[in-house]
């Protein structure tokens, strides 16, 4: 069994053991619940084998929520450790603390933010362009199961073996075989690589969908803003993710087969790792942020009851950001020691990218200006974002000055900065989208009261947790410190821990919100399909939408297509026709299982299993290719029945 033996079980620390117990226990509890309720068949036929973009989108978001919980527990443990560990060891041993910050970053980027945004795009984008599904529904399911396979490996590292201690960026030479000999870095490599391949395929799928599946009449410049940001984000997925695949593969070759890409000896070059990693890594930041910008644009326009201000400038700003995101990667390693010319060029490019972002902020503000604003929970997340993101942007421009970066690099100032970008710039956007589109997906609204409570806890918690880190950065505190001896830091760190507790309350509010809303789903029901007085096409169909989305593909002639439809008189519907949809398929979940086993086998050097699972993966791909795409037909009479039930 390769290097797998009984020592892999987490008996090295009681905290790790508890983590493993919670993971296994949680998993068993879910399985027990499914068996008890007799949901096995339903789960398999309705969900796991589905190729419906709406269900895949929901599965992505469920995955994101579960991983958010895991990633947040990591965060809370780190804050607690740093609040305690002044002049003592704290409660976490160093090698465990290092695993926690590594898994926190990896989870939040790859297994929380990425599935969340992919889920939102999956659910909403085809509805907004008036399509029946994405361009390649089966491929969509494969992408999901690749991401899920990565997440499974990630969770497995908690139970069997250890996770990486090399941070979410996995810089060599520390992450090389010489300094990190165990399986930790391998878990990181393979979970990230497998999910990354899924993301690349999602990108291909979304770009093709947006370019070819739009409703008749919808020109590019009539696409809702969320579709535009989904497009640019997906283009970045297609073109940036290969660099991550290559760089993680090279690190794997270094570690497993003794290659010398990034080693100290034999002509390796560690800086090529940083170089390739951030060639992917910087566009990745915009992959995360752009879809959230799209959500904010939709929300701000609907709840200000106005057309989005400066739509054209918003589109160009989005595209400019997408292209410029490939020109700034060196700012992540200014301190590598390049000459002034190189650092200045990348510093200036970094500052330039703030310009289109500023354009967007002003567009949102002017949309609100003189609008009839409804302060709903999605709107609160949006306004909270605008204030907070502005601050994060300014600290970013500060860091873009190479000389200043030399002072701040690797301090908690940097930690505060990127959390200040990604928490409001991505997560707040995803929450806004979650609360905004939830009634569309499930036919009832989420409790506004608990949504607003969640927002206020997150918002204040964020400030309490991260503003002290800015100050600590100036005071010289390095990031990722397991313990320290500077007494003046401790009050700040205790305050930051208090902030994390506030965020915990925010997360609890999100849970209560879901619970309360499901309980009161009859009272909160959305019968119109349009609970917010929406402006775009997803609100034109029922909530939840039928499997085929639209009985008649809408004809679009305006930017706010649905708003325009509501203003003009209704025309008598043409007779319904048979609708053809792709049939569900068992191949995608099987491929996900094969991919997860392959990753596990390679991590533990179980080569026979790796060969077997790889062969299975190839065989499944070929088999699917040969059998083609089966379809199911929903007959016109059935469509008429479903549509009749709406009124």
């Amino acid at each position: 069994m390769g290097r797998l033996n009984w020592d892999a079980l987490p008996f090295y620390s009681w905290v790790a053991f508890t983590g493993a117990l919670v993971t296994v226990g949680g998993g068993l509890l879910v399985v027990a619940l499914i068996l008890y309720k007799g949901w096995t068949r339903k789960l398999w036929t309705d969900w796991l084998t589905t190729v419906d973009h709406k269900k895949i989108g929901i599965m992505y978001i469920v995955l994101a929520m579960v991983m958010l919980l895991r990633g947040f527990i990591d965060a809370l443990m780190m804050r607690a450790q740093q609040a305690i560990a002044m002049g003592n060891e704290g409660y976490l041993p160093p090698e465990h603390f290092d695993q926690i910050f590594s898994s926190h970053g990896t989870i939040m980027i790859f297994f929380m933010a990425m599935p969340f945004l992919t889920g939102l795009i999956n659910y909403v984008m085809p509805l907004q362009i008036g399509a029946r599904d994405v361009a390649f529904p089966f491929l969509n399911a494969v992408s999901f199961f690749m991401t899920a396979a990565g997440a499974v490996l990630m969770l497995l590292s908690l139970v069997i073996g250890v996770f990486s201690t090399a941070g979410w960026t996995g810089y060599p030479p520390y992450s090389g075989a010489q300094y990190s000999p165990g399986v930790g870095v391998d878990y990181w490599i393979w979970s990230v690589m497998i999910s990354g391949i899924g993301t690349t395929l999602s990108g291909v799928n979304f770009v093709t969908t947006i370019m070819t599946q739009r409703a008749p009449g919808m020109r590019l410049m009539q696409m809702p803003m969320f579709v535009w940001t989904a497009l640019c984000s997906s283009i970045l997925m297609v073109f940036a993710f290969p660099a991550l695949t290559v760089v993680t593969m090279m690190l794997a070759l270094d570690r497993t087969f003794g290659f010398h890409f990034f080693t100290n000896a034999a002509g390796g070059n560690q800086m090529q790792y940083a170089n390739l990693f951030w060639m992917w890594g910087h566009p990745e930041v915009y992959i995360l942020i752009l879809p959230a910008f799209g959500v904010f644009s939709e929300v701000v326009s609907v709840f200000s009851s106005k057309r989005l201000f400066g739509y054209v400038s918003m589109v160009w700003a989005t595209m400019a950001i997408a292209v410029l995101s490939f020109t700034v990667w060196l700012h992540h390693f200014f301190t590598m020691g390049s000459s002034a010319n190189v650092n200045a060029a990348f510093g200036i490019a970094t500052m330039i990218i703030a310009i289109p972002t500023g354009v967007k902020v002003f567009d949102w503000l002017f949309t609100m200006y003189r609008g009839r604003i409804r302060i709903t929970s999605p709107m609160l997340w949006t306004m909270g974002f605008m204030v907070t993101f502005g601050i994060g942007g300014m600290t970013g421009v500060l860091l873009a000055i190479p000389a200043a970066d030399y002072v701040m690099h690797n301090t908690t100032f940097l930690v505060a900065h990127f959390h200040n970008m990604l928490v409001p710039g991505a997560l707040f956007g995803f929450f806004a989208g979650y609360m905004y589109w939830f009634p569309k997906a499930f036919g009832f609204q989420l409790s506004e009261v608990w949504g607003k409570r969640a927002f206020w806890f997150w918002f204040t918690g964020f400030y309490c947790a991260f503003m002290p880190l800015y100050a600590l950065g100036f005071m010289g505190m390095s990031r990722r410190m397991e313990h320290y001896d500077v007494a003046t830091w401790q009050p700040y760190l205790i305050f930051a821990c208090f902030g994390a507790v506030l965020v915990l309350l925010g997360i609890i509010c999100l849970g209560i919100q879901l619970w309360v809303s499901v309980r009161d789903r009859v009272a909160l029901a959305d019968t119109t399909g349009d609970p917010w007085d929406g402006r775009t096409l997803e609100w034109a169909t029922s909530s939840p939408p039928p499997e085929y989305n639209f009985a008649h593909i809408p004809d679009v002639s305006d930017l706010d297509a649905f708003y325009e439809m509501k203003q003009t008189a209704r025309t008598a519907p043409a007779p319904y026709e048979d609708i053809h949809l792709p049939a569900s398929s068992v191949y995608a979940p099987l491929m996900g299982v094969a991919a997860a086993i392959f990753g596990f086998a390679v991590i533990w050097w179980i080569w026979w299993l790796a060969a077997l699972s790889l062969a299975a993966l190839v065989a499944l791909t070929i088999a699917r290719n040969v059998t083609g795409e089966p379809h199911v037909t929903i007959h016109a009479a059935e469509v008429a029945k479903i549509e009749g039930a709406r009124t």
Binding site: G203, F259, H260, A266, G267, T528, A540, A574, T647
Partner: protein, 208 residues
């Protein structure tokens, strides 16, 4: 309220009409082309790494010690000719000439298989003379780049076999021919990457 929600009517086109098939073909072309571009970026990252590491021979064999002119020329000729005859095969099938289609396809497969065989032999010889990927950063980068290309050629060969199986099983239907065209595009793309490999790796290496 909800009665006003029905969007303006626009009957959809049932599948299997020619307009629908045209649309579907366009969608598949585009998706496939995007995949090819993504794959190209994969090679870009490998080329960038080779460019950075090519001089880091760490006291081991250098480029001029191990690259052979005639072998490179032969490989280039094989791959280019294979690309040509695979194109011929596609025209054959499109014109309904199965004999030409299968004949040229077999030729393309043979040339591609010969290419892979020669490359495996080259790698084996390199390792035998102490120029393995574990020797230096330069050789790691060289093997990664050239072997990734070779792996693509191998995938193309396997794909050719499944394509033949599809042709025999289903005949040259629209769907199968589309599969063949994607295969051809993949093969042509690999050919273009090879131009990069001999221009960046082999010829400059021999020159020094």
């Amino acid at each position: 309220m909800s009665s006003a929600m029905t969007p303006e009517a626009q009957p959809i086109t049932a599948p299997h009409t020619s307009a629908h098939l045209e649309d579907r073909a366009r969608t598949e072309q585009m998706g496939y082309w995007l995949y090819l571009m993504s794959d190209a970026i994969l090679f870009v990252a490998l080329f960038a790494t080779y460019a950075v590491l090519h001089a880091n021979s760490a006291g081991g064999p250098e480029a001029s010690d191990i690259f052979e002119f005639s072998r490179t020329a032969l490989n280039s000729a094989l791959l280019l000719t294979s690309t040509l005859v695979l194109g011929f095969s596609g025209i054959g099938f499109a014109k309904g000439n199965k004999g030409a289609g299968f004949g040229w396809l077999a030729a393309a497969f043979a040339l591609g298989a010969l290419f892979v065989g020669l490359e495996v032999q080259e790698f084996a010889a390199l390792v035998a003379q102490g120029a393995s990927p574990q020797t230096s950063g330069f050789l790691s980068a060289y093997f990664a780049l050239v072997a990734t290309h070779g792996l693509h050629v191998t995938v193309g060969l396997i794909w050719m076999l499944t394509y033949v199986a599809l042709l025999l099983y289903e005949g040259p239907t629209r769907r199968v021919l589309a599969n063949g065209n994607r295969l051809a595009a993949f093969w042509h793309m690999i050919g273009i990457v090879w131009i990069g490999i001999y221009s960046v790796v082999y010829l400059p290496g021999i020159l020094q």
